[in-house]
């Protein structure tokens, strides 16, 4: 009997001749948390699909031992029966159903005649919540009443209810706030203590460092190393992931900051479903040429609402007064804003960024397509020339401009969406979570690009939930909490603690105008 719960050896998976996985060996003991790291496209997801039975036994080579016996799953059903549960990045919850109904989805407890046995389900769901140290959750309330962190918790409760022995968490914290992440990590520690093994997939290496016992790094489908966390630090993991040391992830440079170019006065947004509730409450701020303004805050604080209102894209009712160069302008729709030189790269790349049926090139020229029109016809020659220029400028990795955009990795899709807005020659550029779900290499390229733009005099507003990123890139930081401007700091010796404290403190207030003429 081996002392490992799960052993994968020599896993090879090919797609049409391309080796996505090339001989991967990974082992996990019960009660151990394994961090799985690698750049986007390295093969993490494919590996987890092999493990969780999405790719049935026989469609890949190699062997999986589960409890010392070969595991030959034909489907996810088989691996779930064995106790391997995967929690996907996008939560698989039905927001309108209650916490308990979600936990028992597909395994409902029933009374004779197929009626739902609510008392038993509520009882069991309550027990699970107490086990997870979350007794305050009302399991009869719809899931949508709770925030992202608690929803993650419901997913975990669902997994535990299926008697999970190995829990795979795929980017579990990508939409969580700092305090929610702390809760999540505590829960994982609790699970470990109960003997549940975890695979923790994340780009956020500080979380990996905080919770994992061992870290396996894969790169280009190959297993690079599995090392005990005690012998590692974040920089060593990055080095293993990219195959080289990244000298400085944040290439902050000194650059000149010019006159005030953008002012937002008294921006308020009202909730789409509940028009009396304010999501953003009377926020004003200004921005200078060449300035990079980081906007920090907890998820749900109203940052995205604020930005989409400025851009004229907010769905609900909003009030906003936008000034460019000291003159009030009408930014009532994205079209008007873009014409004025105010551009936005939205937060949700899949829903709001890419047009999936169009090619890479067609996505890039979406905003400026009219410029290529000659006598009703698109001049495909000059369109392609522009596209090729963008592809090489942003080092966008694609075989050619005619491939579907969906065939690119997340980082390269993001570059295409960025490029689309850059072609519109923005003077003020709003970037909402520009590096979410983007691998380390593409991240640093996006930062470099931001620095270049700032040096050219573009004013940049960057919304980010990663404090390290906000502090690493911005000249000035705005902090928003519960729809209110709670802090405005020049980024000099600014600490994550200061920003976080302002974000949480309900009494904090600030004005967003600033006179920093100095260079960063």
């Amino acid at each position: 009997m081996s002392d490992f719960l799960m052993e994968m050896s020599g896993i090879v998976k090919t797609f049409g001749g391309v080796r996505a996985l090339d001989g991967i060996d990974i082992k996990i003991r019960a009660g151990e948390c394994l961090g799985l790291c690698g750049e986007n496209g390295a093969g993490k997801s494919t590996l987890m699909k092999v493990l969780s039975g999405v790719y049935p036994y026989g469609t890949w080579d190699g062997e999986i031992l589960w409890d010392g016996r070969p595991l030959r799953a034909q489907s996810v059903r088989d691996t779930e029966a064995a106790g391997i549960i995967i929690i996907h990045q996008e939560l698989m919850l039905v927001p309108e159903l209650s916490v308990a109904e979600n936990i028992f989805m597909g395994h409902e407890l029933t009374l004779p005649g197929g009626r739902m046995n609510y008392p038993a389900m509520y009882r069991r769901a309550g027990e699970l919540m107490r086990e997870l140290n979350m007794p305050d959750i009302n399991v009869a309330l719809p899931v949508m009443h709770y925030g992202g962190g608690h929803q993650q918790l419901v997913e975990i409760a669902k997994a535990l209810n299926k008697k999970a022995r190995l829990l795979i968490l795929d980017e579990p914290s990508s939409s969580l706030t700092a305090s929610e992440i702390a809760v999540l990590l505590d829960i994982i520690r609790g699970l470990k203590a109960r003997g549940v093994a975890c695979v923790y997939i994340s780009h956020k290496l500080d979380e990996v460092a905080a919770v994992c016992d061992t870290v396996a790094v894969i790169r280009d489908g190959r297993h690079i190393a599995t090392t005990a966390m005690a012998e590692l630090d974040v920089n060593r993991i990055i080095a293993q992931m990219v195959g080289r040391e990244i000298a400085a992830l944040y290439p902050r440079q000194t650059h000149a900051i010019g006159e005030v170019v953008f002012e937002a006065h008294h921006v308020s947004c009202f909730d789409v479903d509940n028009p009396r509730r304010k999501r953003v409450d009377d926020i004003s701020f200004s921005l200078r040429r060449g300035e990079i303004l980081g906007v920090a805050g907890l998820v749900g604080a109203g940052r995205t609402e604020l930005m989409s209102a400025l851009f004229g894209a907010y769905r609900g009712r909003f009030e906003a007064e936008v000034w460019l160069d000291g003159v009030p302008v009408d930014t009532g729709s994205p079209l008007k804003s873009i014409r004025l030189g105010l551009c936005m790269v939205p937060e949700d790349r899949k829903q709001l960024g890419i047009v999936p049926d169009l090619s890479v090139g067609q996505n890039i020229t979406l905003t400026v397509l009219q410029e290529f029109s000659r006598h009703t016809r698109i001049d495909s020659e000059s369109e392609l020339k522009t596209v090729h220029g963008e592809i090489s400028r942003l080092q966008l990795k694609t075989a050619n401009a005619f491939l579907p955009i969906t065939s690119l990795s997340g980082g390269n899709q993001q570059k295409a969406v960025l490029s689309k807005m850059l072609l519109a020659r923005p003077r003020v550029l709003i970037l909402d979570e520009p590096t979410r779900g983007v691998d380390v290499g593409a991240k640093s390229e996006i930062y470099k690009l931001m620095m270049e733009l700032a040096a050219q005099g573009v004013a940049i507003i960057m919304v980010s939930s990663e404090l390290a990123e906000v502090l690493g890139v911005s000249d000035r930081v705005l902090v928003i909490g519960e729809g209110v401007l709670r802090g405005n700091f020049i980024n000099r010796d600014l600490s994550q603690e200061t920003v976080l404290a302002a974000a949480i403190d309900p009494s904090a207030r600030a004005t967003g105008h600033c006179d920093n003429r100095e260079t960063a």
Binding site: P334, I338, G353, L358, L366, L369, S373
Partner: protein
């Protein structure tokens, strides 16, 4: 050969598969009618029968690519055809005024549908349902439930006239030349940008095939009375709509609105205007189809265009238009319309009962979409 490669072949050569399906249908009917199906006379008939559905399908494919649907087109066709007949028969409006008036009216109706969908955000399915009832009601009111006949000879020419054979031959030759030039230009362009080229023999075969089809087309029709005017109209629409969808800004917008409307809106596109104009074009096509239909029947009928929307929608889906929007082609939709027309025509020749015809057409639609769905996601 395993199922995977079959699927791959199928999705790569979807048009080819459709053409083969048509060939099989024709072969079957030809056998069943002892050679009565593939004759110049019947093919000429078949193409004329197809023209009304084909004209509607040209507009409908844009609507579906944009992620919407228009159920009102059958009734709108009937109404506009009825108006054309009333103007012609009772008001004696000359054709050069009658036609533009009806086209303008069609455009207005279409834009109105588009306004309701795009700006007032009423789902297009509902707008279509409402229009289906309302337009039919107006038609019944306008005609008093009676057939309006006989329409003038000049109008009948629109639906029943023929192009002189010599002109038909010149047209065929011109189209062949165009195909050669376009293929050549595409090769040159791809070469200039160092893109992978298809082997020359495949392009050669393609051009030769197009030439053979054109030759067969013109010769067969000239063998009868010449190319029918409505078929000529359909050819022109095929050209115009293919150009619009593949070469123009507006065409690109149709695909991007249908594929991801929010992302397109955030890219600074006036998506509401795009949608409204797509419905406007649909209305224009209803007017054309109504005119051709009235001309073909030489009368305005209160039941004209009944269920026409379903034939047009079926043609689009058979022709490989995606039901969630974002992809589809005009020529695909027309091939779909040809499939539907062939079934109609063949079964009528065989004296198949109407109820069987409906069952078979319904079954074919399901089959075509099932094949499309099951071959779409090739891993």
């Amino acid at each position: 050969m395993n199922t995977g490669t079959i699927k791959q072949l199928f999705s790569q050569y979807k048009t080819m598969a459709l053409l083969i399906a048509i060939a099989l249908i024709w072969l079957f009917f030809n056998q069943a009618t002892d050679g009565g199906f593939v004759t110049p006379r019947n093919l000429s008939n078949l193409l004329r029968q197809m023209s009304v559905t084909g004209i509607l399908a040209c507009g409908m494919v844009l609507v579906i690519i944009a992620g919407e649907i228009d159920l009102s087109v059958g009734s709108m066709l009937g109404l506009l055809g009825g108006v054309a007949a009333v103007l012609d028969v009772t008001q004696h409006v000359p054709l050069p005024i009658d036609v533009p008036l009806v086209l303008l009216l069609g455009l207005m109706f279409g834009l109105f549908n588009g306004y309701l969908t795009a700006y007032l955000r009423i789902p297009s399915f509902i707008v279509g349902l409402g229009g289906m009832l309302a337009f039919r009601g107006v038609l019944l009111g306008v005609t008093g439930g009676m057939t309006i006949a006989p329409v003038s000879g000049s109008m009948v020419y629109l639906g029943q006239g023929y192009l002189p054979p010599q002109l038909g031959a010149v047209l065929g030759a011109g189209l062949f030349l165009l195909a050669m030039v376009l293929t050549w230009r595409q090769r040159v362009n791809r070469m200039r940008h160092a893109l992978p080229l298809t082997p020359p023999w495949r392009d050669a075969i393609r051009v030769a095939l197009i030439g053979a089809v054109l030759l067969a087309f013109v010769r067969t029709l000239n063998h009868y009375d010449g190319i029918p005017v409505p078929v000529l109209l359909l050819l022109a629409l095929l050209g115009i709509f293919s150009y619009v969808t593949t070469q123009t800004v507006f065409g690109r917008r149709i695909y991007s609105v249908g594929s991801n409307m929010e992302a397109t809106r955030l890219s600074g596109v006036n998506v509401q205007a795009v949608k409204m104009w797509i419905f406007g074009i649909m209305g224009l096509m209803c007017a054309l189809a109504g005119l051709v239909n009235t001309a073909r029947l030489a009368a305005g009928s209160p039941s004209a265009g009944n269920m026409g929307e379903l034939d047009a929608i079926a043609a689009c889906f058979i022709g490989g238009t995606s039901m969630r929007g974002g992809s589809g082609t005009v020529y695909g939709a027309l091939i779909g319309a040809l499939v539907m027309a062939s079934l109609d025509n063949g079964m009528s020749m065989l004296d198949v009962d109407t109820y069987w015809q409906m069952i078979v057409k319904g079954g074919i639609l399901m089959l075509a979409v099932w094949v499309d769905v099951s071959t779409r996601s090739v891993r």
